[in-house]
Amino acid sequence: MLRADALETIYPELEKHIVVTIMGAVAAELYMLGHRHSFFYLEHAMGLASSMGLGIALAMPTHKVIVLDGDGSLLMNLGTLSTMARYKPGNLLHIVFDNESLLSVGGFPTATATGTDLAGVARASGIPSVVEADTCESLGSVVREALAGDTLTTIVSKVEAIGPKTFHMDLPLLENRFQFKRALEALQRQQ
């Protein structure tokens, strides 16, 4: 599965909710599908997209928060799985695209290329629902199911180590930051 195709499949769900994504290929591919003010692209601080998502999910318990993570990022912050599992916010959906590679910085293999099983780590950390979805069809249905329910879910999707031709995004990071905060404030006011 290509991550770009996976993102396109779930984009109708993504655009309805709060999304925090990691940097690099994932950010660029999501941006190319169509930016929304409720999308935050964490352009640095590798590993912390899920922690940010947890902070938002705890602060906004009536809204769904989707984190787009990657194998390289998650491996930098494995403790996040145990912290998310401890509080189990049912409004948080954690999607990990595992291309077994640090694609954005030269394509060197990560530990998932040599046997580390992130779904297994998530299960053992206590995440209540962990699903592996390696086709667009299965990913689409698992995402819809997780968003319809109220159970903290981690989805691990194996994807090919292929990224976009360019990582350029015509969106200065501070513009994204202030825009995103205003979008969340507007959502809070709707309650």
């Binding site: 640095h44 940010m52 947890l54 996040t80 969340l184």
Partner: protein, 170 residues
């Protein structure tokens, strides 16, 4: 354990007066009473993290969602969180209110705390993080309130160093 209950209560009351709703914490001796108070407070979300880096992400998320948060960490935890402080909080202009127990400073008996004690203020200075020392029970409310005010006005992290004089009774 001679950690000051009285001053811990004053610090916690000041955090409540600052409308802090989320506290991320990693246990450390001087912080035990504060963490217990947060845990027992039904109106406080206490997030027990595995490593301090996570707390920077959690507070960033809370801020963007419009909720006030605070971080409770030892100074070695602050040192462990430098990259997220730089590449999330400073990069994205995120206010952080970091309450840091200042181990390894004057009066420290544990040799293993001393290097971190000596590195703490130089690192805060290098990152241009405004820093208050909390040494006296009379300063607690005013200094925490002012630290939070500056963090929000400057969209920048601030540090409040909890001193031995305040936290440890012997």
């Amino acid at each position: 354990m001679p950690v000051s209950v009285t001053n811990s209560k004053l610090i916690y009351a000041a955090l409540k007066a600052c409308d802090v709703k989320i506290i991320s914490a990693l246990p450390e001796t001087w912080l035990v009473h504060l963490i217990r108070m947060a845990d027992e407070d039904p109106d406080m979300i206490l997030v027990r993290i595995a490593k301090e880096e996570e707390a920077i992400g959690i507070s960033a998320g809370a801020h963007l969602a419009g909720v006030n948060s605070a971080l409770l960490m030892q100074n070695h935890g602050f040192l462990a969180a430098i990259n997220p402080i730089v590449s999330l909080a400073l990069l994205y202009k995120i206010p952080l209110v970091m309450l840091i127990s200042y181990r390894g400073h004057m009066g420290e008996k544990d040799p293993w705390q001393t290097q971190g004690g000596m590195a703490t203020e130089p690192v805060l200075k290098a990152l241009n993080i405004p820093t208050w020392h909390l040494n006296s029970s009379t300063d607690i409310y005013r200094r925490l309130k002012d630290a939070q005010t500056l963090a929000h006005a400057s969209l920048h992290p601030v540090a409040v160093l909890l001193s031995r004089e305040l936290m440890w009774e012997e």
